[in-house]
Structure formats: C-alpha cells, structure tokens
C-alpha cells in the first residue's frame, strides 16, 4: 500500500521536473520557440540560428544543469544536517561551511585596489571566476577541516551543532571587519556575489561542480542506513551498532563537499537546504532516507528551476538574484503547505 501511495507524487514530480527544466531553458530575455529549443537540444544542425544555438548551449543549458546540481546538493545537505542534529531548522550552512566560502571570496574581492571589480572579473571570463571559485573552495575547505578536527574530539552531536554555529559566527565577523575597512565599490562587488547566481558556471567549472556534487549525492545515498539510525538519537544509534563518531565524520564530509562546492561556484543560495527536506517528508510521508535522499533531489531541483525561471521573469530584461527569489517565492509556498497539512510534525525531534 505504501508503495502505491508513493508512486502518485513520484509520477507527478517527475513530470513537473521535465516541465520545469524546459521552462527554465525557454525563459530569458531572448524568446526562442519551444520546437526550436527541442531541435537545438536533440538534433543540432548547421542550419540553426547561430545566436539561438549559442544562447541555449552556452548559457541556458549550463544554467539549468547548475540549477539541477545546486538543487540536489543543497537539499540533500540540508536533509543530512537536519537528521544528524535532529533539528528541523538545520541547513547545509549550519556547520559554517557557507560562511567559510564567503570568507574566501571576501578575501579576494575585498583585498584592496589591486583586484578588479566583479564585472571586470566576469568580462575576463573564466580565469577571474576561477579565482573566486578557488578562493571559496579554500575558505569552505578550511572551515570543514576545522569542524572535522573538532568533531573527532566530541561525543555529542549537539555540541557539534553549537560549535558549527560559533565558527560560522566568527567567520561572518571576520568578513564584516573586512567590509568595514573596504571601499564601497569593493563592498558592492562582494554584496553582488552574496546574492548568488546560477549563471556563469560553464565548461570545465560545470564538470568539476558536477563531479563533486554527484560524488556527494552518492555518498549521501549510501549513508541512508546510518541516517535512519540517527533518527532515534545517538544513544539508540550506538545501541544498534552504529559507530556514531565515524558516521558523523562521513556525514559532515559529504555535506561540506556539497555545500562547499555549490557555494564556491554559485554563491550562497539560502532556503532550499532548509525547506526541501520538509517538503520531501510531506510528499512522500516517510522517514526512510533511502526514499528521502532521492526525493530531496527531485523536489530541490524542481524548486530551484522554478525559482530560476521566476528570476528572469518573461518580458523583462533584468534578472533578479536567485538567492532573493528562493526565499521570496519559496518561503510562502512552504508556509502554505505546512499550514494545510498539519499532521506533519516538524518540531517533534526531541
């Protein structure tokens, strides 16, 4: 009976996913008819409009793929953190990884006059954003190592959560100091980065992001059983034969990989990581991570694709930052769903 109940939302969501993906590719300032999009995607020929092919292959398709990767990665990262810390408010940024990436980027963008503005960096095409991505990776990696070293010394997951929050707080304070002593132009560049962007990840960057996120997702799926055991808290998990410290290290590594790489290439994208796990539990009515991990991928992808569509509202030339749209559109949606279906008790972790 359970299986059949699950199939219904699954089919609907898969359809929605395809729709959202196509919608995202067709959305944008230049209007390209849907059958032309199909032709360019499925059977490219030299007769195609060159600018349309360029727009789809080099801009919209990579952006849609980035949205898929970021949607999956952030949602699964959030799910892992919520389960590990048994806290419905946890998200992938809870360990300070996102803040670490921001610190890396701040170091580059705010390090004084020698560095070009983000627009110049973008004009210089890849080398510039490699610099930002690299700096973000170093920042996120540094915080992750710190968290891992500390996590090895702790028995308790709640302490881990508090320490993660503290590290994030310290990192953000460092960034604030840096901003305080920088000139307004540089601060604006940094601010633009914090708005997040799914565009601009192409070619080799997309490959790297893809490999990292897929690795993280596979690792998360293989951790399903450990995550299930952690639902009952550490003591029960231990009594069922789970080595809690090792499980925590694996989960922290996986989430860091996911959140770190996505933040490095796309900037901080909020909301997805905290909301999607709740939606996945709501739609699939289960607690089994074997189901929830793929479910989070599915829902996270759809949500981020739709947000991306909205961010480039048809008919307008301007593009709103993705980080704003995810919160502005996503939050009311989640509130609506939670209020309508009250029997999902998100707050019953303890």
């Amino acid at each position: 009976m359970n299986g059949q109940l699950r199939k219904l939302p699954l089919t609907g969501l898969l359809l929605l996913l395809v729709l959202a993906f196509l919608l995202d590719i067709s959305a944008g300032a230049v209007r390209i008819p849907l059958h032309d999009i199909f032709r360019i995607l499925l059977a490219p020929s030299p007769g195609d409009d060159a600018s349309w092919s360029f727009i789809i292959e080099k801009i919209r398709l990579p952006k849609a793929i980035t949205a898929v990767l970021a949607g999956c990665g952030l949602s699964v990262g959030g799910l892992q953190m919520q389960t590990l810390f048994r806290n419905p408010l946890a998200d992938p940024g809870v360990l300070g990884i996102t803040a670490g990436a921001s610190l890396g980027v701040a170091a580059v963008l705010l390090s004084g006059g020698s560095m070009a503005t983000i627009y110049a960096i973008k004009e210089l095409s890849s080398p510039g954003s490699w610099l930002i991505a690299g700096a973000a990776c170093v920042g996120a990696g540094g915080v992750m190592l710190l968290v891992l070293v500390l996590s090895g010394r702790l028995r308790d997951n709640v302490l881990m959560l508090i320490i993660g929050l503290m590290i994030g707080s310290i990192t953000l304070a460092l960034i604030s100091i840096w901003q305080y002593f920088s000139n307004p132009e540089e601060v604006k560049d940094f601010l633009l980065w914090t708005f997040g962007s799914l565009g601009g990840v192409t070619g080799r960057q997309l490959l790297i992001l893809g490999v990292t996120v897929l690795t993280g997702l596979v690792a998360a799926f293989l951790s399903s059983k450990m995550l299930d055991a952690l639902l009952l808290g550490e003591n029960y998990a231990r009594s069922m034969g789970l080595t809690v410290r090792r499980a925590r290290t694996i989960i922290v590594c996986t989430t860091s990989l996911l959140a770190g790489s996505i933040t490095a290439f796309c900037g901080p994208i909020g909301f997805i990581g905290i909301a999607v796990p709740h939606l996945a539990r709501l739609f699939f009515n289960t607690s089994s991570h074997r189901v929830l991990v793929p479910a989070c991928c599915l829902i996270g992808t759809i949500l981020l694709l739709l947000c991306d569509c909205i961010s480039q509202w048809p008919g307008t030339q301007s593009v709103l930052p993705i980080n704003i749209i995810t919160s502005l559109v996503g939050a009311p949606l989640v509130i609506l769903l939670l209020v309508r279906k009250r029997d999902l008790n998100v707050n019953a972790y303890r």
């Binding site: 048994r86 293989l222 009952l232 009594s239 034969g241 789970l242």
Partner: protein, 357 residues
Amino acid sequence: MNAGSPLLYAKGLQTGYHPSGKKIVVTSGLPDLVIGSGRLICLLGANGSGKSTLLRTLAGLQSALGGTVEVGRATAVGGEMGRGGAMELADCRHLSPAEMARSISLVLTDRVGGANLNVYSLVALGRYPWSGWLGRLDQTDRAAIERAIVAAGIQDLRHRKIHTLSDGESQKVMLARALAQDTPVLMLDEPTAHLDLPSRIRLMRLLHHLTREMNKGILLSTHELDLALQVADEVWLLQTAGPLHKGAPEDMVLEGVFEAAFAGEDVVFDRTTGVFRISPEGERRIRLAGEGTIAFWTRRALQREGYVVGADMRADQLVRITEEMGATRWILETPDGSRSFGSIADLLRALAGVRKD
C-alpha cells in the same frame, strides 16, 4: 540453551566517567554480575545511586573504568536464538559495535520524537544490526518485526506516527523495537517512568512473560519496589556509596536489606506488606474489628492518620465494620458512645474532631 545459563557476565566492574582526563568513579567494588537466560532482573536504587551509569556500562554505551563485561556472542540469525548449546562469552571490548548490537538491545529514557517516523518504521530500525548495507529488509527481517509487534501487543498502532503516541504506547513501541533487534539480552532504563499504574503492571507482566516465553535475559532499572518484588527473579539493589546487594527479592525482604537501604525518618518499609509507608506510626492506638478488603483499606486510612492499628489491642477507640441493608457502615465506638458512618472519609473527619476535643 538452559534457563539461567549466563548471557552477560561482568567481573570486578567499576563504573564512572572520564571527563577531560579526570576519573570520576560512580560505583566500584561491584560483585560479579550475571544476567542469565530466562531471568528478569530488577536494578533498584535511589535517585543518583548510579543505576543508569551501571546499565549503560553493561550495555557498552560507555566504557568501564575497570573490570570486564563479557557478553554472549549471538551466532544464529533471526529467531534461532535460544536453541543450541550455551553461549560463548566474549569480552565486549573485542566485539564490534554491530556484534554488540546483536547481543544486547536497549530501551532508554531518551525521547524519540519525530522526523515523521511511524511505528512500523521505528520497529523496523531494530533490524539495523542484521539488515544489509542499505538497510533493506528481507524475509527474515520482516518476520522478526512482525513477531516483535505481536509480542509487544502493538498491532493496532502499526501505522501511527510516533509523535501521536501516549507515553504507555510509546514505551511498548520502543520495547517492540528492541525485540525486533532479536538479542539474547534486553536492558531497559526505567521503563515504567511516566506510565500510569495499570500500564506499569501490564509492561512488567509483558517483560516477565518474555523471559519465560523467549528465554531472554532482561535487566531493568526501576523505582517501583513493589512491582519489582512481584515480578523479579532477582533484584540488584544499588546504594549510593554502598555495596550492591543482589538476590531473590523475597530473601532480601526477609534479610531486611530494603529496610536498611532506604532507612530514613520519614519513610518506613513495611516488611509484612512489602511497601513503603509515608509517615511513621504515631502514638495513638485504635482497634479495628473486621476482615477482608474493606478492613485492609480502613487500616491504610487509619495508618495514614498516624494510628497504630490492631485487631486485638487495648485501646479506648474501636472501629467496627458492619453491613446494614447491603451498605457498609463504619461504627466508631469511644468511651463517650458510638457513632455510625457511611464512608471512610466521614470516619476520619469524626476522628479528627475527637482528637481536637
């Protein structure tokens, strides 16, 4: 496996904590402790006497400061336990967490709230040490889950969400989870706390039944001395900064172990009934004439008021229980005359009035 053959054996155990290099001993000088198959053992002790620490140490949740814990290594899979020869004991430090989890299952006081778990999924988690690397359940697992659900009597709860359960239901579900783990030893940390009296008795009866039917060795910590005395095959009495007494509960009552352990000005252990009384007996004496249930409860009420109650003692007050037209009457006879009451409450009110005069 014969009833009573050892499933867990703790030698010279010292329990406590290791916070930041220091060593804080909670209990030392423990005698050798054995959990035998088919035995229900109650671990009693006052708050703060180290019951939970001892239980957690025996279960391997925290390491012992000294001594060893040996557990029977489960060799058979799913339901085959309890047959075959005696179990081979192995030092739990040499066992992997998964092997430990196949030998000992636990019911803890930790709250298990939510994350959208339903009862079946929670019981299924008990199969964790047996199931495959992704947690898939096979035929054996499903059979074990079904047996556990039936044994704990939670068939009707199967599809309920955990956070909608009452305390009593929740405790039974956690017990079912431990049963699904299919271990020879089962340990429960204060399983009767938060339960109402009938639920407590039902749970204890269920545990007693499990030791007899499934031949499990069960250790539970509890504050319920009177319940423990009724169902336990063995009692371990842990005292703050004192030795651990163990033995059959009846022997311990007769030897006066409980009186010595819980001795205090305001609490009295009544050896004849096996229960604690709140206030000590007073100086006032009263005679009670009557038998059976009504007399028993009348005696309890009088004792609560501080009377020494006796059937044939010399006292100037006498309570007689009679029946008039199908209704019970309490007749209070004093040197001033006799009065009749329709309830114990009225009787007590009158006695209080007499005392004031």
